[in-house]
């Protein structure tokens, strides 16, 4: 539960939250974004800084179960909340089915947008286990890919959903 608004800052504040199922603590100024906290304070480089202003989706993480642009989320607003990043998807050396599908369908070229795309797809599949083509394109419409891997990203999402349904 996020704390009730109390005065934070102007100096650095302690923030305790959960990252990939484990407790995390950072001591950050109030204007620090979640993206910077992940990358600079916690060393999690999966989420990428491409625009830093909420226009590309490369920094997408899952915040309390919903996809969020971490560059548009303040770290101090994450107190007590749960953050999932691309680093947390694989378990016991096993890739997440969406990660598997991204490789099998060749859903990336340079790979820079990939962590964000994957987090958007993972969030979609948790909310909707049998998405349509339209559901998928809506879910990743906020994730730009300059290499143009879009057709394969959609194919990967649909194939991961089908596999999940069969499992």
């Amino acid at each position: 539960v996020p704390p009730k608004a109390s005065v934070i800052g102007p100096g650095a504040a302690d923030v305790a939250f959960e990252v990939n199922g484990r407790p995390a603590h950072v001591h950050v100024p109030p204007h620090r974004t979640l993206l910077d906290a992940l990358r600079e304070d916690l060393g999690l480089m999966g989420a990428k800084k491409v625009c830093d202003e909420g226009t590309c989706g490369a920094c997408t993480v899952i915040l309390d179960g919903r996809p969020a642009y971490s560059c548009m989320t303040l770290a101090v607003a994450c107190q007590g909340r749960s953050v999932e990043t691309v680093e947390g998807l694989a378990r016991d050396g096993q890739l997440h089915p969406v990660q598997e599908a991204f490789i099998a369908e060749d859903a990336f070229q340079c790979g820079f947008c990939t962590p964000g795309q994957i987090m958007s797809v993972v969030a979609l599949l948790r909310a909707n286990s049998a998405p349509t083509h339209d559901d998928v394109t809506r879910a990743v419409a906020g994730n730009l890919c300059r290499c143009g891997a879009y057709p394969n990203i959609v194919a990967a999402a649909l194939s991961a959903a089908r596999k999940k349904a069969r499992a």
Binding site: Q99, F108, T114
Partner: protein, 758 residues
Amino acid sequence: MTRVVRTRVEFEGTVSEEMALIQGEDAPPWDATAELGIVGHPHRRIEGVGKVTGRTRYTHDLRFPGMLHARILRSQYPRARVRRVDANKALSLPGVRAVLHRFNAPKAAFRGEETIFRDEARFVGDEIAAVAAETEEIAAEALRLIAVDYEVLPHVVDLEEAIDDASPRIDEHGNVHDADKHDRGDVKKALREADTVIEETYRTPTQLHNSLETHGAVATWDGDLLTVYESTQHVFGVRQGLQAALRIPLSKIRVVCEHMGGGFGSKGGVGKYSIIAALFARELGVPVRCVLDRHEENIAAGNRSATLQRITLGAKQGRITAIVHDSWSNAGLGRWVADPTGPTKGLYDVANVRTRSYRVLANTGSLAAFRAPGYVEGTFALESAIDELAEKLAVDPLALRRQHAGAEKDLVSGLRYSLKRLVDCYDIGAEEIGWSKRKPGGSRGSAPGLRRGMGMASQTWSGGGTPPAYATVHVNPDGTAIVRIGTQDIGTGTRTILAQICAEELGIAVGDVRVEIGDTESPYAPISAGSLTVASVTPAVRVAAMDAREQLLEVAAGVLETPKAELRMEGGAVVSRGARTTIAKVLEELANYTVIGKGARRPNPDDLVLKTFGAHFAEVEVDLATGEVNVERVVAVHDIGRVVNPLTARSQVEGGVIQALGYALSEERVVDEPTGHVLTTGLETYKVPTVKDVPKIVVRFVDVPDIEANNVGAKGLGEPPIIPTAAAIANAVANATGVRVRTLPLTRKHLLEAVAAK
């Protein structure tokens, strides 16, 4: 034996002769009958796990102990003399370590200029000063504290205004410079005798690369040894640029780019940011990172030039007899310019051709190569004009192209093509899209007010590759292999195809090959640009793997006491008359022996021209009331020799089509003329395609190996798929609506204006 030969090299439309060093014997070419178990079959990217888990480290992600962050102060004026820089306030900000500007920075040559900080800022975004600080945030804050005294000078930013004699001169020789010309036959006579002539003007916008990983570098010194990690398409090029700037020996510079987040041509050499990082790192004795933000990327990291093109076509009795193509490109301050008239010179068999290409200077960010530079712009104009001529002649535009697509010799050099299957591309594409159903004047759409149409366009590009390129293949005692070559994987799948080539030659699994690239400590390979990579590096890796295999068989012959001629490699084992001994078992006998094979890329054949060809077909639906163009389907067919990895090849074509879709419909750098500021610096205002914009894309290959080109029979594919898409879409829109839009991007505004003018 090592010897030096001369070889013809084509890079992005320019042909040159270069010296190449060759060693050993070439591998015999894999012809169409070669039975290959790995090459030519789809393979997943071998670096896939790193990329989907977020483990892959790009330049942006590198952090070193004590590392400082540099940020760059950029000119807010399109043209101004820098009279004074006062950095005292910035230097007194806690956390700031140093400031560089034109009055204190050491001389550092950059692309023919003596210093990285010009005394006269030439565009909004030009480097004025740089700050190194403990965090990026402090560095950014310090930039605001630097006071610069400017003398503002008159400027010009628009291409057509810059051409105008009344505009401010940026260069003492004027703003318009000759860039390229070609003459063959007699165009005047041909046009006089033509029975049909069209003459039209086409305009294309400035396109911004918007690689998701912005330009950037991290520099670290270990004594006098400099290591620069840079997001680049050419580690050796960056090394050369650093040598020129810092005047230290090449042997003291190492450049590394293991993974990079897109370049599309813009990351071809050293950047001012790399030099700034290296200068600060040397001065301060700690690693320094200098990475551009999105807005800097879109003002100061290159672009595809806007063009103004005039084309005249003449025809007599249904045959094209003359082409005149004049083109002006906004180069910013660029010292070169891509040539939009390239396709005009060679695509069609036309006897009388006159082309002129001009480089125009303006106070904007300079061009950088952008995926098929020049050819994308020129093909839009040429292929639009061909359709306009077909309409005037009342003939099918594909039929008109077929009539002129048969030349077996390159029309500029007179040399024979090693392979040309353009007509096959037409056949495959026409069948796939259902061209026979295309009607002149288009057809009714899916709802009232909607019109449907089909269009197509052709492409030609180089892609034959070049020496020098060298590789080594190590076979480890456990039977796995390591390929080492100083090429880069810019997202195209280079790593994976090199693993395939090596695995094929050694008879081992792709998963048992590691590929080490992106490091100047490896054998030399050329820039990953100009669709050079596949045809340059795969032949070298193949020879290295073959060399390793032969050595391995010699070792096995000794260990197994069997004549070498009776041994072959298969499935990770040495096989002899049904007996299998794994490579590991063979090498076990020789403690810690490593087989090292080496290979060099052979020169290109002297008497042949190596080209790629292709054709794209588009089907669109257009809303005449709103001007909205909906591209429903694109069929892309390419003739690129052997396809090494059909999985990644298809991805690359889809990506090219999608990038071209942005160029055709939505992408345009907008510059405010009075202030010279780019207004489309962010991804909110500069519209790259999203998943929602993507049509159905069908990818097909002729897939006939070009055995005269190189030992793999493969040519490049990076650029071909971006070349003909915009023209195919424009032609489809014209077919659907009866209205010709000659200005890209083909926005609602441009289409509705054309409808209104009709």
